[in-house]
């Protein structure tokens, strides 16, 4: 940095600055340099061809530069002097008949003098800044600001007389705002974040039109210089949490931030858990919902996923869509989700322990059916389960990556091989297909990929415990799982809230059922001190 500063100090002329840019970028071909003749001097216009919109540069920058004329500047100057004179005369000259005549005489003299008036570079610079028809224009200092950041953020740099003026002429390199790709919903808003930082923030701000919604910005990444926006509602979010996050972000010194997951992993609490401790969502309505609870959102440039923290395990099981449906009907959906949560973790493990250790726990008719189905299967049940889980995982991973055109082929082949042929060939028993299928389907209910992966991991761990020690093993594994989840924290907040530490009102309010919006008058105490959320306006 110091070296750079020294280099900058040696720069004498406009050409030097241009050369400095050229050498620094190793003469990269996508940077365009244009000389524009204005009056007697030359103005350099430097911009990155790939990041800027050439139309905007030619329409709003170069044309306005060219429009600068001697007459204009002179006229402007004249006006300025005249105005000054006017005030002077008004203030100082006595009021008499000759006043108007005197004034006229002075103006005439002035005009004659102006004929010999020299235009200074400052005049041109001022006129230039004034003329450019772009709202985001500013002058930067080479020493203080990083010219390359502006250059590669889609700004055009106008270099003249050792001064640099930048104007934003970004090309749109982003997708349009679209429906969510992962977090689908039936009711409720259907817009989703994109890679564009500005529009992402806009999507949130248009939902919370309040001065209390604060955006603080950090640039992280030595090379990527990614913008990280910290969004929170200032009178709801706790200051200590905001500061905690800000301090953590400040300490980050990394090459590049390419996605919000980078931030997520860096910020993760020291007690590493396999469960996600930060919500990562593409839904602006969800983010707005959360920051109004007192949580903090991190908007990462170039990532369509906005992070929200702190997060509790309940946030990953339940869904924002509950809020958009009738609250009385949501209770059943919630029960189904909890069942699916346990089914996806425990089914294979319990099945394995039942058929290899604890056969007495199966009803006789079911046991007979199991035995009949497993007849002729040469592998131990554990191996059979691993085989099926592996095939399903391969199918799933393949399904994620496959180009859309080949998607149907994959599912047909997958369904045929896994569902039918494997059974007819006697490699696996039909009941195992059912077990793995219900497990996988239940797992799909959790949209957050980190959550789904974590559940998958614990499913395997429990399966191993089951294969080693039967139901006792499953019990031990479950204990481990509970210990692991319950000891996690998400940014100093207990992960299993409101189950542990127990908060009965909140369990009733959000775990078991969703409280009717009209009855839900208070925010959660764990997230905010500002509790009033809903009150009925009094009639007057």
């Amino acid at each position: 940095m110091e070296e750079n500063n020294k280099k900058i100090e040696t720069l004498q002329s406009t050409e030097d600055i241009v050369n400095y840019i050229k050498t620094s970028t190793s003469n990269s071909k996508d940077i365009a340099y244009r000389k524009v003749q204005v009056l007697d001097s030359i103005i350099y216009v430097v911009y990155s061809e790939t990041l800027t919109s050439t139309d905007r540069i030619s329409d709003f920058v170069i044309r306005s530069i060219k429009e600068i004329s001697y007459e204009d500047i002179k006229k402007e100057r004249l006006n300025k002097v005249q105005n000054e004179l006017d005030t002077y005369i008004d203030d100082n000259l006595e009021v008499d008949k000759n006043k108007i005549n005197k004034k006229q005489r002075i103006y005439d003299n002035l005009n004659k003098k102006m004929g010999r008036f020299e235009i200074t570079p400052e005049d041109i610079l001022n006129k230039l800044t004034e003329n450019i028809a772009i709202s985001n224009v500013k002058e930067i200092d080479l020493k203080e600001d990083d010219i390359f950041y502006y250059l590669f953020s889609g700004f055009v740099c106008i270099i003249y007389n050792k001064k640099i003026i930048v104007a934003e002429t970004k090309a749109t390199l982003d997708r349009a705002i679209n429906t969510p790709m992962i977090e689908n919903n039936i009711k409720g808003p259907k817009d989703a974040f994109t890679e564009n930082y500005q529009s992402n923030i806009g999507l949130i701000r248009k939902r919370i039109k309040s001065e209390k919604l604060v955006l603080e910005e950090n640039k992280i990444g030595r090379r990527s210089k990614t913008k990280i926006g910290i969004l929170y509602v200032s009178d709801i979010a706790r200051k200590d949490l905001v500061n905690y996050i800000k301090n953590k972000l400040k300490k980050i010194d990394i090459d590049a931030i390419l996605d919000s997951n980078y931030i997520m992993e860096i910020l993760e609490d020291s007690n590493k858990t396999t469960f996600p401790t930060m919500i990562s969502t593409e839904r602006p309505d969800l983010v707005s919902y959360y920051i109004l609870q007192g949580r903090i959102a991190l908007v990462v440039e170039n990532s369509p996923f906005v992070l929200v923290l702190p997060a509790f395990i309940d946030d990953f099981i339940n869904n924002i869509e509950d809020v958009y449906q009738k609250s009385s009907d949501v209770i059943l959906t919630k029960i189904v989700r909890y069942i699916a949560f346990f089914v996806t973790i425990f089914t294979p493990a319990v099945y394995i322990s039942l058929i290899t250790f604890n056969q007495e726990a199966i009803p006789t008719e079911l046991l007979l059916s199991f035995v009949a189905q497993r007849k002729g299967v040469p592998f131990p049940a554990f191996f059979e389960a691993i085989l099926m889980i592996l095939s399903f995982e391969i199918l799933r991973e393949g399904d994620y990556r496959v180009p859309n055109v080949a998607g149907s082929t994959l599912s047909i082949v997958g369904a045929l091989i896994l569902g039918d042929a494997a059974v007819s060939a006697g490699i696996v028993s039909p009941i195992m297909i059912i077990v793995i299928a219900i497990t996988t389907i239940s797992g799909l209910m959790f949209a957050d990929i980190n959550m789904a992966n974590s559940l998958r991991l614990w499913r395997l761990i429990l399966l191993i415990f089951a294969a080693v020690a039967g139901l006792i093993g499953v019990a031990i594994g479950t204990l481990l799982l509970v210990i692991k989840i319950a000891s996690s924290t998400s940014y100093t907040k207990p992960y299993t809230y409101p189950i542990a530490p127990l908060n009965f009102t909140n369990i009733m309010k959000q775990i078991i059922k969703r409280k009717n919006i009209a009855d839900d008058k208070e925010r959660q105490k764990i997230l905010t001190d500002n509790l009033t959320k809903y009150k009925i306006k009094e009639d007057r």
Binding site: I355, T356, F357, Q359, E360, T364, E365, L367, L368, S369, F370, V371, A372, R374, K375, V377, P380, A381, F382, I464, A467, V468, A469, G470
Partner: protein, 419 residues
């Protein structure tokens, strides 16, 4: 450390986990065991093993392969069952056993000897029914197939359950419910029994006579019933006409000193279940102007032991809720009679039956299947301590009872008048 854990886990998996892991295909699932005495005094054990391949495969399968019967004779039950492996390709798995059928000869010998293996074996669930095969060899009963249930043992189990639920003359007692009474000295159990009924003409007459006899008069004399049993078993040996044989649930068999002592009749069996609060549902019939059948849908018995003025008295109060399910033409509640008359009739009938049953238990059978001993031990322990030694010799048969029966008809089945 991490490597060590991984290696341990892999090793455990490769070594097939802890040593009690076994694949379900390697188990021979035993559904019923029959125990009989051979002539040389050894136990004759027969086990029904289910063949799962044929289960649930739909129609068209030959029902002969649904199950396999293994038989073995040995001095102890454990050795007999274990040595069946010599014949069977798989280890016999007893946890799914539903029925333990003992012959009369075994039951008369010692009940405790027989069930010891089953309550001691850690693989066993003790959730099977203990049933006496009245006058027939267990192995014979276990082989009889019925069109309703393919597996004979299932048939017996379901018959007993259904009888307990809808007739009320047997209990749905699994072995674990009776273990306490079997082990406690003085307390006795009554267990369900089954009989084999032939449909051949001569045999049918015999067995129906026998049935009448058993239901009409009390069978204090255990020898007579066993005699008739041996006769019928001989008959069945001579003629093996499978389809014409029927398994019927009979009244309860009562024990004395853990030895089979005889059989209750039908009414007594029902009173037994009522007094033990095992009664679920059953019908009772009274005759006033005409017959009236009531279904007892709820019954609750409360027995309170007392010691007053040197007398041992037990208060028995029974509350039964009934539905009228059928009544004769001549009954008309709107005119002469009221439904309460029939309540009273029923009350009196039940009261007389209970009184009868208790007297018989005390005087004729001389066995405490009512549970007076347990009652005094638990509720009046101080008194019981004093008389512990003489309770069954002197006191039991002289305990007086105050019986109070309350029968309620909440509705008359929707029709209160014959048209």
């Amino acid at each position: 450390m991490r490597y060590k854990i991984v290696i341990i886990i892999i090793a455990m998996l490769l070594l097939n986990g802890l040593n009690n892991s076994r694949e379900i295909n390697d188990l021979a699932i035993v559904s019923a065991i029959g125990i009989d005495k051979a002539e040389n005094g050894k136990y004759k054990v027969s086990a029904i093993v289910l063949n799962p391949e044929k289960q649930g495969s739909g129609s068209g399968t030959s029902s002969s392969d649904e199950m396999t019967l293994y038989e073995n004779e040995d001095e102890t039950i454990q050795t007999a069952i274990r040595r069946m492996i010599l014949e069977s390709p798989k280890k016999l798995y007893l946890a799914h056993m539903k029925l333990l059928l003992i012959s009369e000869s075994v039951a008369k010998d010692s009940l405790l000897d027989v069930i010891d293996f089953f309550i001691r074996d850690n693989e066993e669930n003790n959730d099977f029914y203990l049933v006496v095969a009245k006058g027939v060899e267990p192995r014979e009963v276990l082989q009889i197939k019925t069109p309703v249930e393919d597996i004979p043992s299932e048939n017996i189990v379901k018959s007993i359950e259904a009888t307990a639920r809808y007739i009320g003359i047997t209990t749905e007692n699994e072995l674990r419910d009776s273990i306490e009474s079997i082990l406690e000295e003085g307390e006795e159990v009554a267990i369900p029994s089954i009989i084999l009924k032939k449909e051949e003409e001569e045999e049918e007459k015999d067995s129906s006579k026998e049935n009448e006899k058993s239901s009409d008069e009390p069978q204090g004399d255990s020898n007579s019933s066993s005699d008739s049993g041996s006769e019928s078993s001989e008959g069945s040996d001579s003629k093996k006409t499978q389809n014409k044989e029927k398994i019927l649930v009979d009244s309860m068999a009562y024990f004395k000193d853990n030895k089979l002592a005889g059989y209750l009749d039908m009414t007594e069996s029902m009173i037994y279940t009522v007094l033990n609060n095992k009664f679920v549902n059953g019908i009772i019939q009274v005759k006033g102007n005409d017959n009236l059948v009531a279904e007892i849908i709820k019954s609750k018995t409360k027995m309170t032991p007392k010691y007053e003025n040197g007398k041992y008295i037990v208060d028995i109060s029974l509350e039964a809720v009934c539905n009228v399910t059928e009544m004769g033409e001549k009954i008309n509640f709107e005119k002469s009679e009221s439904i309460h008359d029939y309540e009273k009739l029923l009350q009196e009938k039940l009261k007389a039956d209970i009184q009868d049953y208790i007297t018989k238990c005390q005087k004729v059978y001389n066995t405490d299947i009512i549970g007076f001993g347990k009652l005094y031990r638990e509720k009046l322990n101080k008194e019981y301590k004093k008389i512990e030694n003489v309770f069954y010799t002197d006191i039991f048969s002289n305990i007086e009872t105050n019986i109070e029966v309350k029968v309620l008809f909440p509705n008359d089945g929707g029709i209160n008048k014959k048209w």
